[in-house]
Subunit: 336 residues, 2 copies
Amino acid sequence: MANKKIGSQTIMLENAPSIIGVSSIVGPKEGQGPLKDYFDLIINDMYYQEKSWEKAERKMMKEAVEMAIKNSKIPYNAIEYFIAGDLLNQIISAGYTARDLGLPFLGIYGACSTMAEGLALGAMIVDGGFADNVVIATSSHFCTAERQYRFPLEFGTQRPPTSQTTVTGAGAAVISSKVDNPRITYITVGKVIDMGEKNPNDMGTAMAPAAVDTIVKHFEDTKRSQDYYDLVVTGDLASIGKDIAEDLLKEKGLNLSNRYSDCGLMIFSPYQDVHAGGSGCGCAAVVFCGYIYKEMKKGRFNKVLLVTTGALMSTTSTQQGESIPCIAHAVSIENL
Amino acid sequence: MANKKIGSQTIMLENAPSIIGVSSIVGPKEGQGPLKDYFDLIINDMYYQEKSWEKAERKMMKEAVEMAIKNSKIPYNAIEYFIAGDLLNQIISAGYTARDLGLPFLGIYGACSTMAEGLALGAMIVDGGFADNVVIATSSHFCTAERQYRFPLEFGTQRPPTSQTTVTGAGAAVISSKVDNPRITYITVGKVIDMGEKNPNDMGTAMAPAAVDTIVKHFEDTKRSQDYYDLVVTGDLASIGKDIAEDLLKEKGLNLSNRYSDCGLMIFSPYQDVHAGGSGCGCAAVVFCGYIYKEMKKGRFNKVLLVTTGALMSTTSTQQGESIPCIAHAVSIENL
């Protein structure tokens, strides 16, 4: 079979699988932000009636998947794979959700790049004819992430202004061979870029070069012009990282101007005390499955490049003096 | 495009991608075991000249990948994707290896099932025409796993007899559209099975039902007879889990008798003080990339079903009283 790769890192999906259903569930703070009317469910309790934040996170993921399948209007047993990952050690949100769903499961990890990694793998599996319907999901939770990566919330530690606020939320999408809009047309799988940044309280700065590397490769490989997309949206660079990304893009000759935005800035208002902005796998997941998807359905956006970005370090690697390896994957989603 | 799925959970790979090169690197204890002559490299220092065990683990993974590419006799720049995962939080062995390799990277997590998950995804990507050559890898290290999942080795904690010994090792395989033996013909992606086991010191018991579920589905879906394979090999159930798996298989009407073995038993001799046997992603990786692959090349084995098994809990989920969700993926590897 002919290799469907174009350029150095991009794949053209010949059959352009459709995203036939999505859903988004968010926490209280996200539910007060500017995108509040786009989410399917806003929970008002960080425990979501569970005994731990970890159990609350996986409950959000499970319900998001069930809701996405319902919204896709195909029967539950038509779903062939569940592809998911999250920020927690051993991706337990995804693993326990897979147990409860009873679907064949492929676990992935890409830190906050997980949403595009899931869309990319799901799209390849459908485009390659290995399944007709797969569901992908990712989640994050402010309290589980703080406990695991930084300090238990009970410490009341003050976070520096460069730090980002992990989004409490879960998003899920059903990718299908059924023809409908929007569709996944190209994917650009990223390389790990590490510019030597070591500050775990400033992920935006660390991740910006990875986002730019993947965006530049995507435009080079597809030979699309810089005004092709209605929206190029990075996952969660937030205020500091987005500024750096814009500068780096211009240096590379790409001027996306007001077509470029970042999910970490879109999800919260600057008045919400979220420091540099939003982050976490859930951030890009709910902004895409909430706002972007719905605006694509209405035709306000017709061509979107979703570029989710991940910082692949752990607390152990940081303690051992390592810098932060970052990655970004791009998925071209279009109304055809 | 026609769905290539057969039965409920199995995919037939129309083009049957080849495994054109592999490599295996192991630690000192594995290098004294019965398979010692099959490994490409035995390190005699658990630090492998690095400052931490974590850095040693990723050095093994990086060298295993480079050696597998060299053994495959294709140029380095012909490799299009690096698909990898490991046991460490945020799969840092894979993430830092991806940084050093400079290849487009897809991170996966399936605990000790990672080897088959990587082979499955790599085979789908090649079979679907999205790449001509991908390299997959996984690793584990006794000291990094003990520190993260149980106790720092410095404590000198005594482990119970049901516990398994995490294999120190890394394995890598190049999957290619080039026609050569052995080839990947079918994959069965597993569901999460959780029978309520909660003892993190007895993974074999927890994982056996997941292995059996996937093996039974594979035979049902492919309609192959119970004597089709020369070898059906589970990842790392070790002595306790393998006995349970054999009983459960017989209950389901599958009598694999002496065609069935387990990597966790094959890698160590019973005289090596490894408790129930070997475990860790690296276990199935080095047994496959060392012993099984080489014996397939010689024609001693022509049809192998590799079924790697993973326990998807974390220390947090165990502390929160959760049982252990387990998974197994099966890959049919054949000389055609």
